[in-house]
């Protein structure tokens, strides 16, 4: 499994965990379960994780597929520079975020899923991966090649006119070799 970018899977897992944590938290608060404070935390943490993980990072190899409408969040996440770029930070952040979820049944699933996402991010970080934003590239037109810009400076390479004049009486003697080698057209 040589060229897998683990961060891509970690991202999917973390986003899912955020949603699960959020849902569990909403149920815990709405149902006023015992320990609902942890559920409230789950809501906040879930929203935060979703916002952080929604913008997909740029792949090192191949084309990157954006999630719908992720541009604004990409800019926000990019603004934090190395904190969001580095996957070690994310791994430890998710590990820390998931712990309070373990104290209440409604958020325990979100906690475990986020923990798993944290482990995959750790693996990605060890492999040296980074989060790079997907930003629209500014169009650069390929400059036309040098030869088309200017008209030819020198006359074509051929011997002087009197040598080139047709001499029907001596056809073989009239043949000449081009002083500069001429290559054929691209074939």
């Amino acid at each position: 499994m040589g060229k897998i970018e683990w961060a891509m899977w970690a991202n999917e897992q973390a986003l899912a965990s955020g949603l699960i944590l959020l849902t569990g938290g909403i149920v815990g608060v709405a149902g006023q379960f015992a320990g609902w404070q942890f559920a409230a935390y789950g809501v906040a943490a879930g929203v935060f994780v979703c916002l952080l993980e929604y913008p997909r990072g740029r792949r090192a190899k191949g084309t990157s597929v954006e999630r719908t409408g992720q541009y604004c969040l990409t800019v926000c996440v990019k603004a934090f520079g190395p904190i969001t770029r580095n996957y070690y930070v994310r791994a430890f952040l998710h590990a820390a975020l998931c712990v309070p979820g373990g104290f209440m049944l409604a958020t325990v699933l979100g906690c475990v899923c986020l923990g798993i996402a944290s482990l995959i991010y750790l693996l990605a970080a060890i492999r040296g991966e980074q989060w790079l934003p997907i930003l629209p590239k500014t169009e650069t037109r390929e400059k036309p090649r040098e030869s088309i810009k200017e008209p030819p400076q020198n006359p074509p390479p051929r011997p002087p006119a009197d040598l080139r004049r047709k001499r029907l009486e001596d056809v073989e003697g009239a043949a000449y070799v081009n002083p500069i080698p001429v290559t054929g057209s691209e074939d």
């Binding site: 499994m1 040589g2 060229k3 897998i4 970018e5 891509m8 899977w9 999917e12 897992q13 899912a16 699960i20 849902t23 569990g24 149920v27 815990g28 149902g31 379960f33 015992a34 320990g35 997909r56 792949r59 191949g62 597929v65 373990g102 104290f103 209440m104 049944l105 409604a106 325990v108 699933l109 475990v112 899923c113 798993i116 057209s185 691209e186 074939d187």
Partner: protein
């Protein structure tokens, strides 16, 4: 609007029936928990009990279904036997992966409802234990404290919490493992992961084994408890509910109610498909043990590798595909490739594009640096062949074959077979006319196919059969330098790219014009449209088929996908 029924009607009907069964099971099992026998259970749990049981029934149904679409050997067998009688029914089996995904989404949905309902159930059971001494819920929770057999509340003490209970009951623990397996399977099955990191998807998906083990064991703890029938005779909730403080005391007529759990039902639903899937894997393994000899390896331009192989007892039809495994590269990976040889040949061949880890390793192992290599002693395992839509080609009078780039491979097999049938055997073939479209972004990709087309063209001219096959090759992208070359050689007799008499066309085809022409020429016929290519093109062609299937001409769309 065209005749949509011809193309999608049966699929739509199947989906409708499946949704209907889901809805029926949901409502039916919801109602089952509203009866009097469950009165005391509902006294503690409220409506959360039926809200948990209804999706559980749907989960049983969907977990039964999910293994079936991926039993490809079984499907291949079914397809073969149905095809004899009903072509459109056989086509439904092409949509197996789509159906598998739909069922997976439904499982995810019902799992979510089930878990959320159980969150309430756990909470309410806990509250009942922590309640004041004189509430019905508290009294109900104390039943069975002596022998731990006739209890209602699975939380037996108030010195605990729901999380702890979940991890110490069989139902809870298996639930956790199942849900984790399901979530990991889903997050690694998204389009991005599947298309780019297939191995992650493939290996993680094997967590389904844990899922099914958990599923079968989930109910053996009998944690869902209702009043036993004998107890119901003696203690009718309608009459006895109010007297809960006096149950069982001397002189009262309401004894303490007894509760028991339902026996586990899930295994009855899933044992059949689990057995079928086990057979499927055994068949794959047995097939993989058969010896495959690589007779020839050819390296084509545009990073395409051709392998010609022989295997004892191998029988194929046009346009089928096989799964290939190379133990020296990976013991566990099986990759699908379309067969490019015709059934009439003495070997079978595949053309593989080098794009990922596995194909790259294959290229190196086969001595990729040489252009031709007659002997390759590498071990190979083959599972298949499996049928896809291309098998149906000769059942249509008129056929449109559209291949994009490497997607032309199944059609290579068809065209070769056509050549053998008409030219060598002169067999009576039902198909009268083939329109072939090949859309390609680069010129080198033509090379390996150009030979085949050239020989076909020559033979057609010789036998005076030029009308049978109409080839349209479209170069969809080109470099500035090449464009100059094309313009200069525009008037040449043979095409500058392919060397064929049929000229290469530039850009994308105008499908509306093409469909109109074909519809005009073949009034009253059923035209089979076969595509192997990207999703965008599939949508376009699907729409064209629907639009142009009017009075007389019917365009039936078949898409091939892996």
């Amino acid at each position: 609007m065209g005749n949509w029924l011809a193309n999608d009607g049966l699929s739509f009907f199947v989906i409708l029936v499946w949704l209907g069964i889901n809805a029926f099971l949901f409502v039916h099992f919801y109602m089952q928990f509203l009866v009097e026998r469950w009165f005391y259970s509902r006294a503690i749990l409220g409506q959360a009990l039926p809200w948990a049981r209804a999706p559980a029934a749907c989960l049983n149904f969907n977990c039964m279904l999910i293994l079936l679409p991926v039993c490809r050997n079984l499907l291949s067998f079914l397809r073969g036997s149905i095809q004899v009688s009903d072509r459109s029914a056989a086509r439904q089996l092409d949509r197996n992966l789509t159906f598998h995904k739909l069922v997976a989404y439904m499982i995810a949905l019902h799992t979510a409802i089930h878990i959320l309902a159980h969150l309430f159930n756990f909470e309410r059971f806990m509250d009942a234990q922590l309640d004041k001494n004189d509430t019905l819920q508290y009294v109900l929770s104390q039943i069975g404290n002596g022998d731990n057999r006739s209890y209602l509340n699975p939380i037996r003490t108030k010195d605990t919490n729901p999380t702890y209970v979940m991890f110490t009951t069989i139902a809870g623990l298996t639930g956790v493992f199942m849900t984790l397996a399901l979530i990991l399977m889903i997050t690694s099955s998204t389009e991005v992961i599947r298309r780019s990191y297939f191995e992650v998807f493939w290996f993680t998906h094997h967590l389904f084994v844990i899922f099914f083990i958990g599923l079968v064991l989930h109910g053996i703890g009998r944690i869902v408890r209702g009043q036993t029938p004998t107890s119901f005779q003696e203690n009718n909730p309608a009459e006895c509910e109010k007297y809960y403080r006096e149950w069982g005391k001397n002189g009262t007529f309401c004894p303490v109610p007894n509760f028991a759990g339902n026996p586990p039902m899930t295994w009855k639903w899933v044992v059949g498909p689990m057995f079928l899937y086990l057979c499927e894997r055994v068949v794959r393994f047995v097939r993989s043990q058969q010896k495959v000899v690589i007779t020839k390896v050819v390296m084509h331009p545009s990073r395409t590798l051709e392998l010609q192989m022989r295997m004892k007892g191998f029988k194929m039809e046009v346009g089928q595909y096989v799964f290939m495994q190379c133990p020296s590269i990976s013991q566990l990976e099986w990759h699908p490739f379309t067969l490019t040889s015709a059934p009439e040949e003495d070997h079978f061949s595949v053309h593989i594009r080098i794009v990922g880890d596995w194909t790259e390793a294959l290229y190196k192992a086969c001595g990729g640096d040489k252009t031709e290599y007659t002997a390759c002693s590498m071990q190979m395992a083959i599972d298949g062949p499996f049928g896809t839509a291309s098998e149906d080609v000769f059942r249509y009078e008129v056929v449109m074959l559209v291949g994009a780039g490497i997607g032309v491979t199944p059609f290579a097999s068809i065209l070769k077979s056509v050549w053998y049938k008409y030219v060598q055997q002169n067999a009576n073939v039902f198909t009268r006319k083939i329109y072939f479209y090949w859309l390609c972004p680069e010129t080198e990709a033509f090379e390996w196919f150009a030979d085949l087309l050239q020989s076909l063209e020559g033979q057609m001219v010789e036998k005076g059969l030029t009308d049978f096959l109409s080839c349209n090759i479209y170069l969809t992208r080109w470099k500035e330098s090449e464009a100059a070359h094309f313009t200069v050689h525009h008037e040449a007799e043979n095409d500058p790219i392919t060397g064929l008499k049929q000229k290469t066309l530039y850009g994308k085809p105008n499908w509306t014009t093409e469909f109109n022409n074909i519809a005009a020429k073949h009034n009253g016929a059923k035209v089979g449209v076969f595509l192997c290519g990207p999703l965008g093109l599939a949508k376009t062609l699907g729409k064209q088929c629907r639009t142009h299937s009017v009075s007389g001409v019917k365009f039936i769309f078949n898409k091939e996908n892996f």
